[in-house]
Amino acid sequence: MSAITKVDRREFLKLGAVAGGGLILGVYLPEARPTTHAAGPFQPNAFIRIDSDGAVTIWVGRVEMGQGVRTALPMIVAEELDADWASVRVVQADAHPTKYGRQGTYGSTSVRGGAWLPLRTAGASAREMLLAAAAARWDVGVSDCRTESGRVVHDGSGRELSYAELADEAAEQPVPEDPHLKDPSEFRLIGTRPSLVDTPLHVSGRSTFGIDVRVPDMLHATVVHCPAFGGSVERFDAAAARGVSGVLDVVEISGGVAVVAQSTWAAFQGAEALDITWSRSGFSMSSAEIAADLERLTESEGAIARDDGDAQTALAQATRRIEATYEAPYLAHATMEPMNCTADVRPDRCEVWAPTQNPQGTQAATARITGLPVESVTVHVTYLGCGWGRRSSTDFVQDAVETSMKVGKPVQVVWTREEDMQHDFYRPTACHRLEGAVDTRGRASALRLRIACTPISVRGGGGSGVDRNSVNGAADMAYDIPNLFVDYCRPDIAVPTGYWRSVGASQNTFIVESFIDELAHLAGRDPVEFRLEMLGHRPRLRHVLELAAEESGWGTPVTAGRARGAALVENKGGLVAQVAEVSLEDSRVRVHRVTCGADCGQIIHPGIAEAQMTGSIVCGLTAALYGEITIAAGRVRQGNFDDYR
C-alpha cells in the first residue's frame, strides 16, 4: 500500500494489480470537499480492494468505540459499489499522517464530516470500472450492463461475471471522471440493518481492546500519578514495591511512577506498596471554592457570545420575569476500559497499540517523546472500550512509551480504575445565571444568560474572549427570542478538562431547556406549545418535537403521580426532542419512559442510530441524576464505581 506514485485525474488513484491480482482504489477524503485540488503530492486515504477471490476489503481510518463506524463507513462504499455485503471485509487502518484523511474520531464527524460523498464516489468509481471491464470482455455497450450484488449482468444475453472475475481487468480501465452516484431512492444497503461487523467478535470474547494486546516478551505495568493536580514526584521509595512478587522494576516517568511487573496484578500490588512524596502542586481548591469562584465571576460582565435585540431593556421593562442560577459539576468519562496503552520502543523504531480516538495525535506524540521520525512510529488502533472524548488525549500513550523507553522492552501500561477516575480530563464545571421574561401574550420576550464555564484545558488552556465549547448549545439556541443576550466569563481552575460526549451541549442543553420550561410555567403555557411557537422558522426542529410529543401521548392524561416533560436539542447535525415521563419516589426521580424523536439526516444503519439514541438517553440520565466529580484539597474524591456513576 506504500507504492503510491501516480495521480490519476481528479482525486482518484488506481494502483493497478495487487499481489495475487485485483483492483485497489485510493480516494482522497478531504474534510470539506473542495471542487478542485491544489497541485501537490496526492495522498489517497480510503482504500477499496477487490481481490480476484471475490473479497472486497475496505480500510477504515476512523476508530470504533461503539458508534458503529466499522459497519457504517464500509456500507457507504458497498452501496455505491453494489458489492455483495457478505463479501466485504473491514480492515482497521494504522495511523498515518495523511493517508486516511483525518482519523481523529470525535465531534460526530465520521460520516458527517466528509466521508459521505468521497466514500460514495470511491465505491461508484470502482463500480464503473468493473462495468467497463465487463462490457469490454463481452464487446457490448456499458449502458447495456448493470451491476447487482457483486456481479455485472448483461441482460440482453443473460451473461454475468462476478467482481472477482473482473477485478484484474477492471484495474486496467481508466478511473471515471465523474462517476454516477445513486439517487437515495435507489439505495439497497444504506438504510438497512446488516449485522454489525464487530458483534461476533465481541460476543465471543475475541475482540482485541487495547488492554487485550499481547506482544511477545511484553511486560505489564501501571502508573501512579500525583493525586493533586499539577504536582509531581519529589522522591519515592521503591523497596517495598520491588519486594512484591512479580514486580521487576520501578521507574520514574514524567507522568509519575511506573511499576513494571510480570502481570498487571503484580504491578497493581507493587503500586500500592510504593512510598511516594509528591511536590506541593499549589492547587488545593475544593468543589465549594470552585463553585463560589464561578458564581462570583457571573457577577460581572463577560465576553458577548450573542446579542439579539435589547435584552437589558426588555428585562427591565418586563412585568413577568424570573431568575435562576444553575450549576453543572465536573464529570468523569469513566470509560469501561480504563486507560491503557502498549508500546515497544526500539532504538530505530517504535510500535504502539492504542485504544485511541486520535491515531495521528498518538503517532505524533510518540515521535516527539522518542525523538524518532514519524514514519518510524507505527500505531495500531485497537477497539476502544468507550471513548466519549477521553481517548482523544495522549497522556496514557505517553505513560506507555516512556515506560518502554526506560525498561527497553515492550510494555503494556494499564491504569487502575482509581487512577482512571482521578486523572481524567473532566467535563467542565459551569455556573449559569439566567434571567427571562414573558410578555402579556405569554411568549418569551427576553432571555439573558451568563455562563461561567471552565474552558477545555486539554487544548492547552489560556485564551480570552468567548470559549466556543462553553457556549455551544446556549449561544446558538434555536429559539426565536426577540431579546437574547449570552455572555461568557472565563474561570481559571487547574482541574484538567476535556471533551465529554456532546461537549458544551451536555450541560448547556440541560440548563437552557430547564429554564425554558420555567419560562413556560411562568407564562402558564404548555411547554411544548411554548417551544413550538419559538420555532416557526425551524420546520425540522418543530417536526421532531411534534413527533416526540405525539408518540409520548403528550396532552393525554398521565398515570397518577407521574408527570411529563419535554426538551429539545440541536447539536452536531442532530435534531432531537424527548419527552420523559417521571415520578418522584421518596424525593428520588424515577424515569418511567423516554420518548425520543430524532432527525439526523440520512441514516446509514437505523439499528446503529437507534442504539446511539437509547445509549445516549442512558448516558444523559446518568449524568443528570448521578454524575458528579468533586474536588477536595486539589484532588478528585471519587475513585471507583462505588462512588461514581
Partner: protein
C-alpha cells in the same frame, strides 16, 4: 492446577492472585475484562461450576478444582443461545462489558429459563454498561429464553 473451559491448565502464581488476572495475563484469555477490581461493574464475570462469579474477587486458590468457564469457553462456534441472541439483537456498542453481560445472562437463564423483565433487570444490573445497551440486553435475554425453549 485449574480447570478452564474444559481443559486443565497449570499456573505458577501467588495463591491470592485474583482469577481475573490469571485468566488474562497468564492464560491469555483476555475476553474476561477488568473494569473496577472491587465487585462493582461485573465486567469480569465468569462461571464457576455454572454459576456467575466475579473473577476479580475470586482468588485463584479458591477457583482451583472448580469448573471455570469464560466467554471463550461458552461455545466454540457462537452457538450458545445467549450469543446467538446477542448477535440477532446487535447488543454490543463498544463491546467491552459484553462478555460480562453474556456470562451473567447465561447463568441467569440456566437457573431461570423464562425470566420476566424485573428478574432480568435484577440479574443484569450486576453488570455495568456505560454505553447504555440495557434495552437491547433485556430484549436479547428474552430472545435467548425463547430460542432455548424451542
Amino acid at each position: 492446577t485449574l480447570r478452564v473451559n474444559g481443559t486443565t491448565r497449570r499456573v505458577d502464581v501467588e495463591p491470592d492472585t485474583p482469577l481475573l488476572w490469571v485468566l488474562r495475563d497468564h492464560l491469555g484469555l483476555t475476553g474476561t475484562k477488568y473494569g473496577c477490581g472491587i465487585a462493582e461493574c461485573g465486567a469480569c464475570t465468569v462461571h464457576l461450576d455454572g454459576e456467575a462469579e466475579l473473577s476479580c474477587q475470586l482468588s485463584v486458590a479458591r477457583a482451583a478444582g472448580r469448573e471455570i468457564t469464560t466467554i471463550e469457553g461458552l461455545s466454540e462456534d457462537l452457538s450458545h443461545p445467549v450469543q446467538q441472541a446477542w448477535i440477532a439483537e446487535d447488543v454490543p456498542q463498544c463491546g467491552y462489558c459484553q462478555s460480562g453481560q453474556i456470562m451473567t445472562a447465561a447463568a441467569l437463564l440456566s437457573q431461570n429459563p423464562a425470566p420476566g423483565d424485573d428478574e432480568i433487570d435484577r440479574a443484569m444490573s450486576a453488570v455495568l454498561c456505560r454505553c447504555g445497551t440495557y434495552q437491547r440486553i433485556r430484549q436479547a435475554v428474552h430472545r435467548a429464553a425463547r430460542e432455548a425453549a424451542r
